[in-house]
């Protein structure tokens, strides 16, 4: 069952990301696997849309397919992916103009996402130069790099610029990667499980940062996660993915409180609930509401 996006409100501007009938087929030794099967969704300015699902459901493949980061000889894309009005499935070259400009990625594991032999400063400066926003003058690039690190709340940015990835913690690296993503002032961020490799206390800080940046800049975010706590905290809409298709889509509140499928109920049930210390609002009689309320109360602190 392919549910259509539940969003019914009228948007004044065209979508930042419009995905129609998107398919990804992976060529493997065992044959062709349809990892993503006809998914449809869109993201507008200031919106966060989450794709949630268990490991292997195709959520990361969807994100990587949209960014065209899957190897061309192993992954066959079809359908329509309009990024800022340009179809990157039909015109593969067009992706080069949006990557690092209108579109940026926040990767899954910050520990392996930066080149270990290049300094933070050199990788950040490179992103700034590619974005072409600032002047190419060395001092201007450096000033912008420091400003970006300040925006993601990294202390003593001048010192951090000289450091190498192995000298920073996972949480700090993810902030650096967000700063790199922001270098181009992107309109759309794809966050592929941005907190799953981090400690729970650090996770909350990263999510707060993303929300803050979204509020300031009106960035659209495509969030990939397996964590309903994360989804609940930051999403406007969520799509529940299983075996390559969306089994349920809709407003975050509605999906969490009234899950329509067994799969979503199982995902909800997998979220740990705090015991006696329960602040569930009185009069809530829905069987799933306790879990939903627990999510609301504890936010992203669940893994």
């Amino acid at each position: 069952m392919n549910a259509q996006p539940a969003a019914t409100q009228d948007y004044k501007e065209p979508a930042l990301l419009e995905v129609r009938d998107f398919q990804v087929e992976l060529i493997t030794d065992a044959g062709i696997i349809r990892a993503v099967d006809s998914v449809n969704f869109s993201i507008h300015r200031g919106e966060t849309v989450t794709i949630i699902g268990e490991s292997g459901s195709g959520k990361s493949t969807t994100a990587m397919g949209i960014l065209r980061l899957l190897p061309d000889d192993l992954a066959v894309l079809s359908g329509t992916v309009l990024i800022d009005g340009v179809d990157v499935v039909a015109e593969p070259k067009a992706i080069d103009k949006v990557r690092g400009r209108t579109l940026a990625l926040i990767p899954q594991d910050p520990m392996t996402a930066l080149s270990p032999v290049h300094s933070i400063g050199s990788q950040l400066s490179e992103a700034i130069r590619i974005a072409g926003a600032a002047s190419k003058d060395k001092d201007a690039v450096r000033a912008r790099a420091i400003r970006l690190l300040e925006q993601v709340h990294i202390p003593t940015p001048e010192v951090q610029l000289k450091k190498y990835p192995h000298q920073l913690s996972g949480g700090m690296l993810q902030r650096v990667l967000i700063a790199i993503a922001l270098a181009s002032e992107p309109q759309l961020l794809v966050a592929d499980e941005p907190t799953s490799a981090l400690d729970v206390t650090v996770q909350a800080g990263i999510l707060d940062l993303l929300l803050e940046l979204q509020e300031q800049r009106g960035i659209g975010i495509l969030m990939i996660t397996h964590d309903l706590g994360v989804a609940r905290l930051i999403s406007d809409r969520i799509h529940v993915m299983k075996d390559g298709s969306f089994v349920e889509s809709g407003d975050v509140q509605q999906v969490v409180e009234h899950p329509a499928t067994e799969y979503t109920r199982n995902l909800l049930a997998a979220v740990p609930v705090l015991g006696p210390w329960d602040e569930t609002p009185a009069g809530n009689t829905q069987p799933d509401a306790a879990a939903a309320a627990a999510l609301t109360n504890t936010g992203a602190s669940h893994d």
Binding site: D96, S115, A183, S184
Partner: protein
């Protein structure tokens, strides 16, 4: 940093000392008699005894070793039997030839093998890559004396482009260099390919691509930047090995280097000359290794000197 260098220097000198001591014992354990080589097959027992006395070979081995140690610390390893000249001087005169050949060979290797390995890594499993891959296996499998003789026949005899032997002109450098480099290129290019392929698949490369980094920067700045350490180490180690004399190639091309010298020294059981050669070449090899180790932190920020020294 200074402590680290001093420590490595100390280790290096100890290595050299153990090497020359081992060689001192081994050549005396090996069959053959320097007196016979020197005096000739027709020499009488009395003549042989006189020669042994002259060379100090009639003394107990321990006493000979004690004399050798004294010589070692004065840097004078005695007189070569066959050249009748100070052994260190004979070797020192040959060293520049071997250095020239080794430098030329390692430069040619680096210049060809690195782009070739990158070229292969960028188009894996294509027919062209497969073809080059087969060629590198061939290059790896050909023994250098055979490669040398084939090149000699081809480019010195049939098509006389280069001199067949010696180092009278710079042209003489070409064939021995190519002979050595063919094997090294085959080995190093396959290594570059392996390293680059691994780095092309690394997550940081995908993330760099996602922020709009273009193909050349992904290949050279990122994948090569991360492949540089093992490749540099391999090139350095091979260079150090070549300084011990590229024996077969030097003999094939009558190259006046250390390699052909050591062959002659061994044939004539010229103990002082063997010892001087081993001393100089192992000193050079240790020095090259030290330079490689000191260059690590430049290539890889993760190698902290403190950590390396503690290990």
């Amino acid at each position: 940093m200074t402590n680290y260098i001093l420590k490595r220097l100390g280790q290096g000198l100890l290595t050299v000392f153990l090497t020359v001591s081992t060689v001192f014992i081994l050549i005396r354990l090996a069959p053959g008699d320097p007196a016979v080589s020197y005096a000739g097959p027709l020499a009488t027992t009395e003549q042989l005894a006189r020669v042994r006395e002259q060379f100090g070979l009639d003394r107990p081995v321990l006493e000979q070793y004690w004399i050798f140690l004294q010589q070692l610390f004065t840097g004078n390893l005695g007189t070569s039997y066959s050249f009748q000249a100070p052994a260190m001087q004979v070797v020192s005169e040959r060293m520049p030839y071997t250095l020239t050949l080794a430098t030329a060979a390692i430069l040619l290797t680096a210049v060809v093998a690195i782009p070739l390995g990158v070229w292969m890594a960028r188009r894996p499993d294509t027919n062209r890559e497969l073809g080059v891959n087969v060629l590198t296996i061939a290059g790896q499998s050909m023994p250098d004396f055979w490669t040398g003789i084939m090149l000699l026949t081809g480019f010195a005899v049939l098509i006389p482009l280069f001199p067949a032997s010696g180092f009278a002109t710079w042209g003489g450098l070409v064939l021995p260099t190519v002979t050595i480099a063919i094997l090294q290129i085959a080995l190093i290019s396959r290594m570059v390919r392996r390293e680059m392929t691994a780095n092309f698949a690394a997550p940081y490369l995908t993330v760099a691509r996602s922020r709009g980094v273009g193909g050349p920067a992904l290949t050279w700045r990122y994948a090569m930047g991360n492949s540089a350490i093992p490749v540099f180490t391999a090139l350095g180690t091979r260079f150090a090995a070549m300084l011990n004399g590229v024996v077969v190639v030097e003999v094939v091309f009558a190259w006046p280097g250390v390699g052909s010298l050591i062959v002659r020294a061994l044939e004539t059981r010229d103990y002082p000359l063997i010892q001087a050669t081993v001393l100089l070449t192992s000193l050079l090899a240790v020095a090259v290794q030290l330079v490689i180790d000191l260059a690590y932190p430049l290539l890889d920020p993760r190698v902290r000197l403190g950590k390396a020294a503690a290990a």
